[in-house]
Homo-oligomer: 191 residues x 2
């Protein structure tokens, strides 16, 4: 889909603030795709649609998760997770996006998962470091993302887990699994 | 088993430093058991034997984990986890301890797990806060343990996860599950 057509579909779904965030994710995702050898057109599309479902009513999101066979344990965790799989579904059914890599990048951009594909990593990370993001630790991740996608992703996931745990909130197990997967591949396992 | 008989069985398995730690865990576990309504004699026995297998050769621990049907994914994670289930097995086979509550408290004293029993919580926590322990955060957990067993346990498990993640080390999934279980029961779940 052409960029302007995609953006116009998304803009009406979002607040102004969230639309500007989406533009930031798009630009960052394209940069990361070129840097790390991913398809930058797919990165653009996934980025544009990553928050497509962000402002759908919770009841609609719940219904889609159940009816479409997404893991129902999502409903036991923070509702912030729900818009990602629901967004993948709606990007397909409402916007006609069929590319599975793009849809998976939308689907897993909030939870992460083990064995993430290159495009999934790029969208997760772009969402975390786009220029509109300002929170403790983001600058460290931006620096890592200049050179090493997996190190940057590991740091971003770790920061996310710390953020939730400091508030004593539950963490979706697939996010833990994403951390463990990356840390076992690139971190310091000592036996 | 009488305390002195149990201690003499354990002492020959441990270094001086680890034996003194064990005494600290024993005294702390008895205090916690009385405070939170557990069987203080069971707490004493579990505490005495909690590190029984600490210095067994890794190959022996691996064999026992495989042969006794303990989860073999333990072998993919830090070897510090192994002595706990192996200790439960050896406390039974070498020291004749049959009480399942005691054996489970030994077995899960390092990893934790969801739905921990009262005695399991007490041994996990006593191991963390006994007077010989000196590390950042332990004093906060000691204070919590004066009033609220679950809050103290949640904080101890969180500290343990943070400690590993700051080193980018993998975290055994049951430890994450223990955190999620407690945080969902007593923490701040927001949907």
């Amino acid at each position: 889909m052409e960029r302007e057509a995609a953006l116009s579909l998304v803009k009406v779904q979002l607040t102004e603030h969230r639309y500007l965030h989406t533009i930031g994710v798009m630009e960052t995702a394209i940069t990361l795709a070129k840097r790390f050898g991913a398809d930058d057109k797919k990165a653009e599309t996934a980025a544009i649609f990553h928050d497509y479902a962000k402002f759908r009513p919770k009841d609609e999101m719940k219904s889609i998760i159940v009816e479409q066979g997404f893991p129902v344990d999502l409903l036991d965790y923070n509702a912030e997770l729900w818009h990602a799989p629901v967004g993948a579904f709606l990007a397909k059914t409402e916007a006609g996006i069929e590319d599975k890599e793009v849809l998976d990048a939308i689907r897993f951009h909030t939870s992460g998962r083990p064995e993430m594909a290159l495009l999934e990593k790029i969208i997760y990370l772009a969402d975390y470091i786009e220029p509109g993001r300002h929170f403790p630790g983001v600058e460290d991740v931006r620096k890592l993302a200049e050179e090493d996608l997996d190190q940057a992703l590991l740091q971003a996931i770790q920061n996310t887990i710390f953020f939730l745990m400091k508030k004593k909130q539950p963490v979706y197990p697939e996010t833990f699994n994403a951390y463990n997967d990356l840390s076992q591949k690139i971190g310091g396992l000592t036996k």
